[in-house]
Amino acid sequence: MPAGFQHFADTYLMWNEGPLIWMSDALIVLTSLGIVGALTYFKRWKWLWREWLTTVDHKKIGIMYLIAALLMLFRGGVDAELMRTQLALPGVHFLDAEHYDQIFTTHGTIMILFMAMPFIFALFNIVVPLQIGARDVAFPYLNAISFWLFFFGAMLFNISFVFGGSPDAGWTSYPPLTELGFDKGPGENFYLLGLQISGIGSIATGINFLATILKMRAPGMTLMRMPLFTWSVLAACVVIIFAFPALTIALALLMLDRIVGTHFFTMLHGGNPMMFINLFWIWGHPEVYIVILPAFGVFSEVVATFARKRIFGYSSMVAALMAISIISYFVWAHHFFTMGAGADVNTFFAVATMAVGIPTGVKVFNWLFTLFRGRIRMQLPMLWTLAFVPCFAIGGATGVMLAVAPADYQYHNSYFLIAHFHQVLIGGVVFGMLAGMYYWWPKMFGFKLDERLGRWAFWFFNIGFYVCFMPQYALGFMGMQRRMYTYPADTGWGTLNFVSTIGAYLMGIGFLFIVLQVLYSIKYGERDLTGDPWDGRTLEWSLPSPVPHYNFAVIPTVTDRDMWWVLKQEGRTEELRPKPEEIQPIHMPKNSGRPFLMGFAFFVAGLGFVFNWHVLAALGLLGVVACMIARSFEYDDEYQIPVEEIEYTEAALGRL
């Protein structure tokens, strides 16, 4: 082998690292060839570009977010299984220490930023405009940019695995370990740039949905008539726009340290690493509320629909959402009680942390009271919601334990903490997003996901969850710290770790059942012909499934909360059907390839910065600027759907 090639292969492709990398390389090459081959064979390239890559339709963007989230759930899940395999028995060397560090880093980063975030954005996109009676979001073009920034940010982060090396300093990426002196490789740069690029997209999504909810509601839909999911999106977006800038700055300053040689977080020349940790958690704590609030919204919709009752305490639900979104901003220092900022600081943040539990408690009780004497149907969305309640209650209780600052010195960074946040993030966010996915799946695709396979998935995942994480609370008390690569047998941690690993495998089987369920249902799933498969309550269920691209042929006038339910009760559903004389031409935004190109330009720039290839970085940034200037001069970005086309579509759906 020529020396130059050998050098390239070892430096960038990491072929000297052994079979794990070779296998991944082979798999990625095969998958890519498979995708390219299939697209070419079925002549779908044009279709892909026209229908998906250039789309500005919120429903399609939502579906792309959903696919990305499920793929990332798979990648993060594989990381988790590898870690649990490594920890199953004492003294194992299944992975080497370096790979183990990389895997726990990518697991955490991917699950929070590239799984949970796109999953909530999927539901934002698919549901919010339909619930508020709008034809699209406020800024459809920006929405497409948000998606492609997320997508290319995630790509940049993920290719580090096979090109240049993964980050290995934990998902929190604390300096001084992440400073250049201690972490030379490109992995940390991949982390910083991948997150930075997708973070810009997230801020744009926050602005977009805030403007959408505030300005695009159908006539008559006052704020206090909005469905609770939309309220939860509003609350989450408030947190996004105020919290994400802190991440942007934390990442940017650390990048300056690494690339320019500044001294923000170094141990030399007056830098202070704790300032990174402070900035990171100014974003980081609100971030967990960003992902949990939409899950709360899903539960509110599901509970009301499947108990066939109006949600109990609507106003208090709204107040609780807003209270959480504000209080969540004042709890960040509980992530570093052990820094020793002082009794006054720790007391303030401990009390604020416990205070968040109050509005959360209000919500849990409201869900329970909604269920009380309801005619409950045990279908998949409801099952996941019911599983959420005890799981989140335990997670919340252990959270309050962690919030007790003096006691936290004992729990800090132990497996107790690991078990706690997995319980709230899986029990809260993942259960919530799965409930939401099952609930709105027919609205997206026009068929239901198979109930029987879904129940298998549900039970495997749930039982697996408790088997996996309950032992970890105990392990934490026994002294096991997070991010340990392996442990000696005489610690006595072997048994509980082995149990925990079994649980992780059970969850993995649960995930495989979900995959099977989706594949099975594409062919055999129950078709949704009415558009209202769950006997729903809100406006989206008044539309056919899947929804025509203009959503509402005639924008409805809203007179009630749970509008669709009220109309059904009073036999007035005809009122939401379009009448020929009311149909007018509809303005829709034109598709554009530019958001995709702009995301790609960001990717190129990011890659340039990762390897300090300045020409490439400059080229990428030029591409970004060119896209923005071209957009500034674009005036003709809408088209009109003629009345005949709307009438034809609606008639074909049997609505005229």
Partner: protein, 108 residues
């Protein structure tokens, strides 16, 4: 959508530059006062900092009201709510970061 009208009619309610001139003069005066107080050491450091911050706060109001037309808009003043929240968080981040990072305790 059927709102047909659209454009500024020439001659119809001309806006006068008075607002802008008042705003400009106020911003100049506020800045000059801040400079004067700081450079002549007219006050002790502690109170001076407070006065400078209050002057800067007044500058925000001048810019928002006279130049940025914060009171205008279309529908409920959502943008003002966002600004107020943003300002609260801004000061919270700055002041609480100083508080957290100053390590008052004996532990550090």
């Amino acid at each position: 959508m059927s709102h047909g009208n659209g454009h500024a009619e020439a001659g119809e309610h001309r806006h006068s530059p008075a607002m802008y001139i008042v705003g400009y003069v106020l911003s100049l005066v506020l800045t000059a006062v801040a400079f004067w107080l700081a450079l002549t050491h007219a006050m002790a450091i502690g109170p001076l900092m407070w006065v400078l911050m209050i002057l800067a706060g007044l500058q925000i109001i001048v810019q928002l009201y006279f130049f940025m037309h914060v009171t205008e808009g279309d529908g409920p003043p959502f943008h003002s709510v966002a600004l107020v929240l943003g300002l609260i968080f801004t000061f919270a981040i700055a002041l609480m970061s100083i508080w957290i990072m100053s390590f008052h305790s004996m532990v550090a």
